[in-house]
């Protein structure tokens, strides 16, 4: 996914660069303090703008729909086509022919593939993802119970990533070539080369076993477990709703380590991208103009250069958030976190295909929605595209 983005954005960047040269010359006279506001629309009437807006909405809906169908086709393919014989997997290889045929008909596998696929799509749309073999409950019910834990962890992770990654990236760009820039570059590369599960294990060994700074695996200490009735499923919110401050604090000590590990990975990516966006801006003429005019460096960096990159940053943060949902699969296994990733890995090891495909569908759908929404936000918020 990231690859597609990079490729798309390099093209987009080229367009942006070209626009900005124009804009910066214009901005020199018009409005020096707000370089983005000076970005007058390039030749184009309001009718064209409207048509483009409608076109964007339509193409958004179409691609979203097609991508979902694609996701369904892939999970269908994995579930029905790849296993040599799904019926044998259910009835066992000693079943009589009659039992086998009955099971086959019951599973709808005697119909042609396209009919089976339509059937599958219909079932998924009505929320029927089958029954999990290992928990004995409908998959959709399991997922709705496990999802909030993952959501909580990924959200805290992205907050850490944005709060640290953006300032680090800006600083690195502002002091390009300094030791700080090099250090941030190394952190960025480590984000691509450290296995998440390994970092989690090392974190547990250091901060839990040695230093005793954080709580161990799980969401709460055992004696707090089950004291708060789930409302939202997110333990931080539920414990506050119940007014249980010590449970809240305990949950924080358990959450902080896995969220920081996730945060590290989003931090690495966000810092890298922020740095390259900032370098683009800092080489622009309006920045030179502002500096020549005597605007303090802090204002040049945080207003003149930073304001225009807020829009592409939204896309980056969205992508990184989606990536965290995926990365949490590994982290949750390490921290025995009762989230969707843990559910998925347990299902994988038990060959519980309904649960595997259900989790894949849900994670995939969230991933797609975040992706497409950040793409649309980019187009809506970018003043040049308006």
């Amino acid at each position: 996914m990231v690859e597609a983005k990079c490729e798309g954005s390099s093209l987009r960047k080229r367009v942006i660069l070209r626009c900005q040269v124009l804009v910066s010359i214009e901005g020199f006279f018009v409005n020096l303090e707000q370089p983005t506001a000076a970005a007058t629309p390039l030749p184009g009437s309001s009718g064209r703008r409207l048509r483009r807006g409608a076109g964007t909405a339509l193409s958004f809906a179409v691609t979203l729909f097609l991508t979902f169908i694609g996701l369904l086709a892939i999970t269908f393919f994995i579930g029905r086509v790849i296993p040599i014989d799904p019926v044998l997997a259910v009835v066992g290889d000693r079943a009589t022919q009659a039992v086998y045929d009955a099971a086959k008909a019951e599973m709808g596998l005697d119909q042609p593939l396209p009919a089976q696929f339509l059937n599958y799509v219909g079932k998924v749309l009505t929320g029927d993802l089958g029954r999990s073999v290992s928990t004995g409950r409908p998959v959709i019910e399991d997922l709705s119970r496990f999802f909030p834990a993952t959501f909580e962890m990924a959200t805290l992770g992205i907050l850490i990533g944005v709060a640290l990654g953006v300032p680090l990236g800006v600083t690195a760009a502002a002091r390009q070539g300094s030791w700080l820039d090099q250090a941030i570059r190394v952190v960025g590369l480590l984000g691509y080369s450290v296995p998440a599960f390994w970092l989690g294990l090392v974190g547990l060994a250091v901060f839990y076993a040695r230093l005793r700074w954080v709580g161990g695996p799980g969401r709460l200490d055992i004696f707090y477990d089950g004291l708060v009735s789930p409302v939202t499923g997110m333990i931080l919110i539920d414990s506050l709703l119940a007014g249980e401050t010590d449970i809240f604090l305990n949950a924080v000590t358990h959450l902080v380590l896995p969220a920081s590990v996730l945060g590290f990975f989003s931090l690495a990516y966000i810092a890298r991208m922020t740095r390259s966006f900032m370098l683009d801006q800092l080489s622009q003429e309006f920045v030179i103009t502002a500096r020549v005019k005597g605007v303090p460096e802090r204002v040049v960096i945080w207003r003149h250069a930073f304001n225009p990159i807020r829009v592409p940053l939204i896309t980056v943060i969205g992508l990184s958030y989606a990536g965290l949902l995926e990365g949490s699969v590994m982290i949750e296994t390490v921290f025995s976190w009762p989230g969707i990733g843990n559910y998925l890995t347990t299902a994988l090891l038990n060959a519980d295909m309904n649960a595997v495909l259900g989790s894949t569908l849900v994670i995939g759908a969230v991933f797609i929605v975040i992706n497409k929404v950040s793409d649309v936000l980019y187009r809506l918020l970018d003043p040049r595209a308006r």
Binding site: L71, T75, S193, P195, F197, W198, T360
Partner: protein
């Protein structure tokens, strides 16, 4: 005429001299960047370790010695021993073969597949383009790791299936790149000359378009290798990749998980190997990009 003059000749006399000269220039430019030299050295060490594993490794990778269980790192066991008394250093060395196999096979399956899909889609355009790129886009907008997990779950655990699953999820990025490159050169005059001379689409794509896509493909593949290593290790960690007693690094970390609180070395040591090798590919990829694709220099 020295060898260097021959390599740097402005008007090479043969095709072979031209490509040798280009390789020399790229290598010389790479040597000027300390990080890419470091990356290259790491990859070289990985290659040598994998090739020479039987002679380098001080102990066997699978031989158990229950009287030497869970020993901390020492002069006899540089990285300590695991729960069955196996020397972790030797296992890491043997594991380099597995990592290298995975990386090479994934690259050999997914890069040509991506190249072909991208080149066909870019060259023919129209419906072929729309269908192929539609499929590519769908794959690109799905989470890679989850897809790989689901594929392995259906195919059954094991190192071969892990390789297939990773390759299935990594070709779309290459298809995108190959398509973009093909679009820029498809209407070039020399392509039209080949067509006028009667060259069919297969000949044009294979002989005249694909060679021009390779440099951006090499950059991309090198940069992606770190991700492939991490995914393979992740599959091994979950228990879906290489199966015991194979000394795969991710699977080794997974075994060491139980002892992480008291015998930290069992899980941490293979992790260092993963980090160093992945960093090596990142460094080399960054360096290659700066040399082969100067447009994007300093972007990251």
């Amino acid at each position: 005429m020295s060898a260097r003059d021959w390599l740097l000749a402005d008007s090479p006399a043969s095709r072979w001299q031209a490509s040798a000269g280009r390789a020399y220039r790229v290598a010389a430019a790479l040597m000027r960047n300390p990080l890419s030299v470091l990356g290259g050295a790491i990859i070289l060490v990985l290659l040598l370790t994998a090739l020479l594993a039987p002679w380098i490794a001080p102990y066997s990778a699978t031989g158990q010695n229950l009287s030497a269980r869970l020993l901390p790192p020492s002069a006899a066991h540089w990285m300590g021993t695991d729960e069955l008394g196996r020397d972790i250093f030797s296992r890491v060395i043997w594991g380099s073969q597995i990592t290298l196999t995975i990386v090479l096979l994934v690259a050999l399956i997914s890069a040509p597949l991506g190249l072909l899909v991208g080149a066909v889609s870019g060259y023919f355009g129209g419906w072929a383009d729309r269908v192929l790129m539609g499929i590519t886009d769908i794959f690109l907008s799905l989470p890679k790791l989850i897809l790989a997990l689901a594929f392995v779950a259906a195919l059954g655990p094991g190192i071969n299936n892990a390789i297939i699953a990773i390759a299935i999820t990594s070709w779309p990025a290459y298809a995108r790149i190959a398509r973009a490159e093909t679009l820029t050169i498809r209407n070039a005059e020399y392509i039209q000359a080949v067509r006028l001379a009667g060259g069919g689409p297969i000949r044009v794509i294979v002989q005249h378009i694909l060679p021009l896509c390779t440099s951006s493909m090499i950059i991309r593949v090198t940069l992606d290798m770190a991700g492939v290593i991490l995914t393979a290790a992740g599959l091994g960690f979950i228990g879906l990749g290489a199966q015991p007693p194979l000394p795969e690094w991710g699977a080794m970390i997974s075994r060491g998980r139980t002892f992480i609180l008291d015998q930290w070395w069992v899980a941490t040591m293979p992790g260092f190997a993963i980090i160093i090798v992945s960093l090596g590919f990142c460094f080399l990829g960054d360096g290659l990009r700066d040399v082969l694709d100067p447009k994007s220099e300093g972007r990251s």
